[in-house]
Symmetry: C2
Subunit: 226 residues, 2 copies
DNA sequence: ACGTAAGGATCGTTGAACAATTCGACAAGA
DNA sequence: TCTTGTCGAATTGTTCAACGATCCTTACGT
């Protein structure tokens, strides 16, 4: 009986949830990540609060939340804009990735995480076979989220979630999703192999090259915009 | 003339700063980190908004900011409380530290960061000589902030700032600051030496031991509380 | 010991109001 | 033509008062 009660405590976080502001933030976050709101676009308090049927004050609380996640850019007296990351941002994002993902592949992978990673590799391959490059991008993101989960740290998972959401903004600025994601379908498979069997150093080295490649791709296509 | 104008654009970030909510958040952040508000304490919207002379709505925006930094705990319909980290939180915080600081010491230290680190080592030694253990704690925190700055990533700096603010909450729960900080005055000096001269792997190994030590100290003294 | 009910305190959310700020347009001047 | 000053509309920043919803405590009854 005590066991059952102990299991229950895992559902505890779901209890606290709710609050209009958070639900509004969830909606906006989804809209942003799916590209409905474009990077650089201004979000009007009046029109959105009216469309969602919540008061301006509540909407502002939601805006605050998303600003803190770096998805929105809050400029004083000018309103909030969907964040438009600069080239410097891209470079910094990859610096963080090298740290978080590098630490991950150096650990002995927990079974749980390994299964997750395999799954996302398959997802990417399936999507690629159907020329669904948007889907490949999504699977890619989940692949790296799974990678980082090897660190077994809730805080790192959360940080990675935010980072990838921010990176998705970068993707939305670029056209030609195929060139952006195709090279990494194979690389994911290879990296998985190195994690499973190879020595950690080998996987780490390959990962560094992987990230260099991805960063170069982005920054190159990003140069003109700033 | 154009050159002068270009230089000016560096001051641009300073323009955006302000907004009552952010200033309120700054005040509360300081109060929390100095221990004026104790972990677990409830912060009443009414009394604080009255004391600070701002409206409840504005105060709530500030609360949101600090909740996102994990300094406050926002429980629906019950109000906000100064966060009281659990033992599991402490363990996770140290997992993150191992990743961020470990990556830092493996890099070739930039001159700028090295100077900062030296400074904080001296600060800690000076404070220890005067039996100012609060001061040692502060210097210690700045030492690790400086360590992490070797990563040369604004986002990692920011993450570390938050992490250390959260860790300060843990310190405030414990009595006997001396036992908590004294051992690390010497260890800081040694780690600095290894970073300057030793091979990175040596510094990394010592750092792991350092963090194990610190974590054990905290978790041990923390066990009873939960 | 346990379930229920009542009451008070506090939070969640709203709507309206006004001041502060931005931005574009247009006119005046060099 | 280019710059500068001024005005007004639009939007944000902040406050205030109000009401329903939720939680906590206390008291009561079984």
């Amino acid at each position: 009986m005590d066991d059952a009660v102990a299991d229950l405590s895992q559902d505890r976080p779901r209890l606290g949830r709710s609050s209009t502001a958070e639900r509004v933030a969830d909606i906006l976050r989804d809209r942003i990540s799916e590209g409905f709101f474009r990077p650089g676009q201004r979000l009007s308090e009046e029109s959105i609060s009216e469309a969602l049927g919540v008061s301006r004050n509540t909407l502002r609380e939601a805006f605050r939340l998303l600003s803190h996640e770096r998805l929105l850019d809050h400029r004083l007296n000018r309103g909030v804009f969907v964040r438009l990351p600069s080239a410097a941002d891209v470079i910094d994002l990859y610096r963080v990735r090298r740290v978080l993902e590098g630490a991950a592949v150096r650990r002995t992978p927990p079974e749980r995480a390994l299964a997750l990673i395999k799954e996302t590799v398959l997802d990417a391959e399936r999507a690629a076979a159907q020329n669904d490059w948007q889907g490949v991008g999504t699977a890619n993101i989940r692949f790296h989220q799974a990678l980082v989960s090897m660190n077994e740290s809730p805080r790192i998972d959360e940080a990675m979630r935010q980072l990838l959401a921010e990176l998705r903004l970068v993707f939305h600025v670029m056209e030609n999703p195929r060139a952006l994601h195709e090279p990494f379908v194979d690389r994911n498979r290879i990296l998985l192999g190195l994690i499973e069997s190879g020595p950690p150093e080998k996987a780490a080295a390959y990962l560094d090259d992987y990230l260099d490649h991805a960063e170069r791709l982005l920054v190159h296509a990003y140069g003109p915009n700033r």
